[in-house]
Amino acid sequence: MNLADKKRLLREMLFARRFEERCYEAYVERKIGGFLHLYSGEEACAHGVLEASKKGHDYVITSYRDHVHAIKCGADPKKVMAELYAKETGSSKGRGGSMHIFDVEHRFMGGYALVGGPFPLAAGMAKAVKMKGGDEIVICFLGDAANNQGTFHESLNMAKLWDLPVLYVCENNLYGIGTRIDRSTAVIDQYKRVSGYNIPSAQEDGQDIEKVFKAAKKAIGHVRSGKGPYFLELMTYRYRGHSMSDSNAYRSRDEERMWSNRDPIIMLRDRLIEAGELTGEDYKAMDSEVLDEIEEEVIAFAESSPEPRVDELEKYTLAENDPWVYGGGR
């Protein structure tokens, strides 16, 4: 990771943070409906891992906390915001919403809203890759609480049994909605849980993007070399509640302060400033540029886009004009 990369990643993470915080405002303004799960505080996880992957080549899948992963994969932030605004120009044409961002062209295979749902989907995509003989890998990001679902165990078993090219990234933010990990999970260190399936794993500081990148390089190298799945646990923290309907009353201010002192963006910024590669002024300018871009391009696009048409309500339910529905004869 060279200097230019670090500066770019700083801006990308800052953009992600500002994007998410702007979503918060838009939600309060009732421009965004439904559920909204924000990624603030966890930026180094998605950015570090995906920086180590082959963009547009590897497949990525995740949970409902999906905006930032989609954008890092190459989704246009304007389309992501338009999706949150439920507009026809949204990434899922306003039919998906915050929890279901998709950008298949950039191989972002979606956000799914059943906890643990993507585990087997990721293994299945990896099976398809293996059948076709490509060197793509599948990267599945999920939270720590998903590991208590049956799909975790069922999928890890099959992924190892068939040595599928899938990297499971556990973004361990210590809480499953409002329940702290030690109150829900018998084994606290998630990376240890996969040893029962003979899957190699590691635990890394998820707030330090350079460490995440390095750990992900190793993990991805393992998977791409054909040795089967890998499990990477990243220790992180979400600043906001689980979703916008979460009072966030279950965490102490001391705990929150401790984590905000290890903010992934500030850590990288300070490191660049210490190294003399960035000034405080540079950072302020970057921030202001990001804010302008979000307001003038992203929000403006979402605001001005049209709603989906009611006469297209049923579109996308089933395939259109599929001759095999009629036995191929029509």
Binding site: Y59, G90, S91, S92, K93, G94, R95, G96, G97, H100, F102, D103, V104, E105, M109, G110, Y112, A113, L114, G117, F119, P120, L121, A122, A123, G124, M125, A126, K127, A128, V129, K130, M131, K132, G150, T151, E154, S155, N157, M158, L161, K315, Y316, T317, L318, A319, D322, W324, V325, Y326, G327, G328, G329
Partner: protein, 326 residues
């Protein structure tokens, strides 16, 4: 035209589709080395190998989800869930992922999987192995549901289901795998929508699907020979979407309807057919439509009780006679 057993017809469809497209795979419990509980994949493991004929762990939700994920990238999995009772465990992936992904991605992604399983009551299999779940599947938007009543349909429906871009659930029947029937020698694709008039009649329409088509046919013979009643029999091989036009056309002709279903009546196929009749041709009716359904109990082990819980051709005859006052 060769006579094949139901399982042989399903096996032939697998074999042809796997030969036709190297991305067609099949997966499920015991389907490979063991050849499948109902032999529907017998011999395919030796022919196509373990990468394409996959013996899965007993993890219904996991392997169904895995098949769905593979289908995102163009693989065409035929997933066998050994018994429909176990499909409850796979509902999350089937309903939340396969049925909804096209819609919630705005048409970007589709899950062209086929899930087949054996449903119905058989011989004293007890409460947890006798479920009739077609009514659960048919209520889910984004999922097609078909149910073959004979080997020809079993073959042709699977062929079309594999090639169709929607997820398709195929409801087979425990008791029907050894049923014989004619299947075209040449390749044949059955429509995934519509219904079939399997017997013409003028006095009453008997609607059936899967095994209950046979009760209807048997009942129609009895009604004709013993009571002078000519029943029309409609095979609803497609349960989602149901063939509104076909249902209405027949009721307009006979003005009476009896729906025979092996499942419990509540929120079922019969209820849905009756709703369609009410909505579309209420004033054409000469009698209130009637359902012949199972008793709403967990299926008992005791054979006498089991038989009492499930309708049969005699119940269909009785329902028609009561309706016509004969």
């Amino acid at each position: 035209m060769a006579e094949l057993m139901y399982w042989e017809a399903i096996r032939r469809a697998h074999d042809e589709e796997m030969t036709n497209d190297p991305l067609v795979i099949c997966m499920g419990e015991d389907i490979g080395v063991a050849g499948g509980t109902y032999k529907a994949t017998n011999g395919l493991y030796d022919k196509y190998g373990p990468e394409r004929v996959i013996d899965t762990p007993i993890s219904e939700n996991g392997y169904t989800g895995l098949g769905i994920g593979a289908s995102f990238l163009g693989v065409r999995p035929i997933i066998e869930i050994m018994s429909v009772n176990f499909a409850w465990l796979a509902m999350d992936q089937l309903f939340n992922s396969a049925a909804k992904v096209r819609y919630m991605s705005g048409g970007q992604l589709t899950a062209p999987v086929v899930v087949r399983s054996a449903g119905g009551t058989a011989h004293q299999l007890g409460a947890q192995h006798s479920a009739r779940m077609e009514k659960v599947f048919m209520g889910i938007a984004g999922l097609r549901v078909v149910t073959p009543s004979n080997p020809r349909q079993a073959y042709g429906l699977l062929k079309s289901a594999v090639r169709c871009n929607d997820p398709v659930y195929i409801n087979e029947h425990e008791l029907m795998y050894n049923m014989k029937g004619e299947v075209p020698d040449e390749e044949y694709f059955h429509s995934l929508e519509g219904s079939e008039v399997v017997r013409e009649g003028r006095d009453v329409t008997l609607f059936g699907y899967n095994i209950s088509v046979h009760w209807c046919l048997q009942a129609a013979e009895t009604l004709s020979k013993q009571h002078g009643i000519e029943a029309e029999v409609i095979d609803l091989f497609a349960l989602a979407p149901l063939d509104r036009a076909g249902i209405v056309a027949s009721v307009r002709k006979t003005h009476r309807a009896v729906i025979a279903e092996e499942a419990e009546p509540t929120v079922g196929v019969g209820a849905e057919v009756m709703a369609i009749i009410n909505e579309e041709c209420f004033f054409e009716l000469d009698a209130a439509p009637v359902r012949v359904s199972a008793v709403n109990v967990p299926i008992p082990y005791n054979h006498t009780l089991e038989k009492a819980a499930i309708p049969n051709a005699g119940d269909v005859v009785a329902a028609v006679r009561k309706m016509l006052g004969k």
